[in-house]
């Protein structure tokens, strides 16, 4: 989309998910993200889940205001998605992950 070059499919994804405690929305986001990653980039990702209540300094460091917020640390450039991450298509587009189903 929009002229960007998709990252090398072999790249490893480093993802950081900021959630606010154990609210239902947080749990939904974690669950949804894990599902998407397992489906499309199995074994090629590291997911770090940060509770902004526990580690507010990390949220501040990354300039995270909204929760949940998903941060793609690598591959560069950094990208972020706010929301409960239920829309799989948007997540994939946002993270620039080639959907596994389409690839085949």
């Amino acid at each position: 989309m929009n002229g960007f070059t998709p990252p090398d499919p072999e790249d490893r994804f480093r993802l950081r998910l900021f959630v606010a405690g154990t609210a239902p929305r947080s749990l939904r986001a974690v669950e949804s993200l894990r599902r998407i990653c397992e489906a499309h980039i199995p074994g090629r990702y590291e997911l770090e889940i940060i509770d902004i209540y526990q580690q507010p300094d990390l949220a501040e460091r990354d300039g995270v205001l909204a929760a949940p917020t998903l941060l793609r640390v690598s591959p560069h450039p950094e990208r972020r998605i706010s929301g409960d991450l239920l829309d799989e298509g948007r997540i994939l587009r946002g993270l620039q992950i080639a959907p596994a189903a389409e690839a085949q």
Binding site: P56, L65, A66, R80, S82, G83, L86
Partner: protein
């Protein structure tokens, strides 16, 4: 002066204690909320103090001169307030001042959450005002948090909240134990997130959270079309809304501030001009026009013996406004410099607002009259505030004056000249009225000069300021016999008897000297004509004296002559008496001899018989 200040203090119930204070206390006492005493009537509405509201609604002082007065104590404590205005109108500075004053003066640490400027920029921007943000941060009295919001980075998918912002704010608040919070500018969030409905809900929650935590907060917002802020923040922050405005009229910018609403409290409703300069923000609560100020007692000698003699009490009444009118070159500035010099010699404080000359120039010019103003300035008794009239709008001039008066607390103010102020007739009139009130309500003696001979202000209209003045000295160049002569007369002086004479005066190295007027058969003579007339009179007198001497000499001579004659006659008389005596004695001798002879004859005849 002390009497006057104390009397002033007594006017204000809030400062009643200073009535019993020492001299220095009375002098140092901050100006109190004048608007409480003198409700505004120049505008359409008036400030009505509401003691009940003041008691019930806790307020947080902003430390911004004037603002705390017009809101009767500052912003609502423990609630969010909205400061809105267009770009560059001073929102961030207002908010920073609020925080810095809280941390330094009121013992309330603060958090500055900036969505626009970085902490270093923020610190650099206010460093010129003497605010040491870095120092406050290091001392743990201030936390600055720059929140970067960039739209392009954030995508949205589904439901989310701004818990990150809350936590971050809470974290910063807890780190310094903050009582004050500034969010500058929240609306940047609307650029960073796509879902306004969600954002609004979160903002509502944020303001609720601020109230729950008991934080006094300032939220800034950009001025929007048709509403106070672009995103309608005023809907959420409903306790106190302050609008800052930056208007350009005739290429001159005037900053104005208005408290749009203040729930549960009385407040000034007008637009108040405010200043941003090296001294920070100061708001001018346009006090007004009630004539209930205390009149200070005492007389202010002018330092010009001749002029004092023309005024019944030997000078002007203290606290009065004095107008010196005269065309260019009549010596208005020098007359006021003389008054200032005399006051400074007595140890009084003088403030000169000069619109046409620099302070150094005035000092130099005064030196030609033998007045050493530098000495007074070095002692801190004299201050010059010079600015071109076109530099600021009238409101700003007034606001500056207001601030300078409160800072310097002078006994005498000189405004030289008022005719230099520009503006429409009605604005000028209103400005002058307020200027006079501003000065009079502080019991300060004011000396105004104007170029217009009839005491008007403008060049092409006739605003009569003279009726606002208590005393009016008119300087005039009389032109006659091919020369100009400086003359002075007192047109009016309220509350005193004064000379009605036209007097000639000289600007000499010994100061201003008034000369007795020559009133001759042909009217008042001045200048060379006076000299000529005086010379003629001197000649005539000399002639008379000589004439008298001559006559006297004649008389004396005549007297001597008569006396001589008397001497001669007396000598004649004596001679005659001598002659007479001699003749008489001869006669007696002769008679005696003839008797003897007759007897001898008789005897002889008898013998012959």
């Amino acid at each position: 002066m002390l009497v006057l200040r104390v009397a002033q203090a007594a006017l204000h119930p809030s400062k009643a204690s200073s009535r019993h204070g020492s001299a220095s206390e009375a002098r140092l006492a901050r100006p109190c909320i004048r608007s409480q005493v003198a409700p505004e009537t120049s505008g359409t509405s008036s400030i009505v103090p509401d003691p009940q509201a003041q008691l019930t609604l806790p307020k947080a002082l902003t430390g911004i001169a004037g603002f705390d007065d017009l809101t009767f104590g500052g912003l609502p404590a423990g609630r969010p307030s909205l400061i809105c205005g267009s770009a560059g109108c001073g929102k961030t500075l207002f908010a920073t001042t609020f925080l810095v004053n809280g941390a330094t003066r009121y013992g309330e640490p603060g958090v500055f959450m900036s969505f626009e400027e970085r902490a270093e920029d923020l610190a650099a921007n206010v460093a010129s005002l003497g605010y040491d943000l870095d120092g406050l941060v290091a001392a743990g009295r201030l936390a600055i948090d720059h929140v970067r919001v960039e739209r392009s980075e954030i995508e949205e998918s589904g439901d989310y909240d701004l818990e990150g912002l809350f936590i971050r704010l809470g974290f910063a608040v807890d780190s310094v134990g903050a009582k004050r919070v500034v969010l500058d500018t929240l609306e940047t969030l609307f650029a960073g997130f796509n879902d306004p409905a969600l954002l609004r809900a979160e903002l509502r929650r944020l303001f609720g959270w601020i109230k729950d935590r008991g934080l006094t907060a300032i939220i800034t917002g950009e001025r929007g079309e048709g509403q106070l802020t672009r995103q309608g923040l005023e809907e959420y922050v409903s306790d106190c809304v302050v609008l800052l405005d930056n208007r350009v009229e005739d290429q001159i910018t005037t900053r104005r501030l208005r408290v749009v609403k203040y729930r549960g409290s009385a407040h000034g409703t007008n637009e108040y001009p405010f200043l941003i300069d090296h001294a920070g923000i100061s708001v001018l609560p346009v006090t007004s026009a009630d004539l209930d100020y205390a009149v200070p007692g005492g007389v202010l000698p002018t330092g010009i013996a001749g002029l004092d003699a023309m005024l019944g009490p030997g000078g002007f009444h203290r606290g009065s406004s004095i107008l010196i009118s005269g065309e260019a070159g009549t010596g208005k500035s020098m007359l006021s410099a003389s008054i200032v010099d005399a006051a400074c010699r007595r140890g009084e404080r003088c403030l000169i607002f000069a619109f046409e000359e620099s302070g150094d120039q005035i000092i130099r010019n005064a030196r030609s009259l033998g007045l050493d103003l530098t000495r007074h300035r070095d002692r801190g008794l004299l201050r010059f505030e010079t600015a071109r009239p076109s530099l600021h709008g009238l409101e700003t001039h007034l606001a500056r004056m207001h601030r300078d008066l409160d800072q310097f607390r002078p006994d005498i103010v000189v405004i030289d000249p008022i005719s230099a102020l520009r503006g429409s007739a009605s604005t000028l009139q209103a400005t002058l009225l307020r200027m006079i009130d501003l000065i009079k309500s502080r019991g300060i003696t004011a000396v105004f000069t104007t170029l217009r001979g009839d005491g008007s202000v403008g060049q092409d209209d006739d605003i009569g300021v003279s009726s606002l003045m208590d005393a009016w000295i008119k300087l005039e160049n009389l032109e006659a016999n091919g020369e100009r002569t400086r003359t002075l007369y007192v047109i009016k002086a309220r509350g005193m008897s004064h000379s009605n004479q036209i007097r000639e005066y000289l600007l000499s190295s010994g100061g201003i000297r008034l000369i007795d007027a020559y009133i001759g058969p042909a009217g008042v003579l001045t200048g060379t004509a006076r000299h000529v007339q005086e010379a003629q009179e001197r000649a005539a007198a000399e002639e008379r004296r000589r004439e008298t001497e001559r006559t006297l000499r004649d008389v004396v001579r005549r007297r001597f002559a008569i006396e001589r004659q008397i001497e001669e006659l007396r000598a004649g008389l004596e001679a005659a008496e001598d002659e007479e005596e001699r003749l008489r004695s001869e006669e007696r001798l002769r008679e005696a001899r003839s008797e003897t002879e007759r007897q001898e004859l008789t005897a002889r005849r008898s013998a012959a018989e």
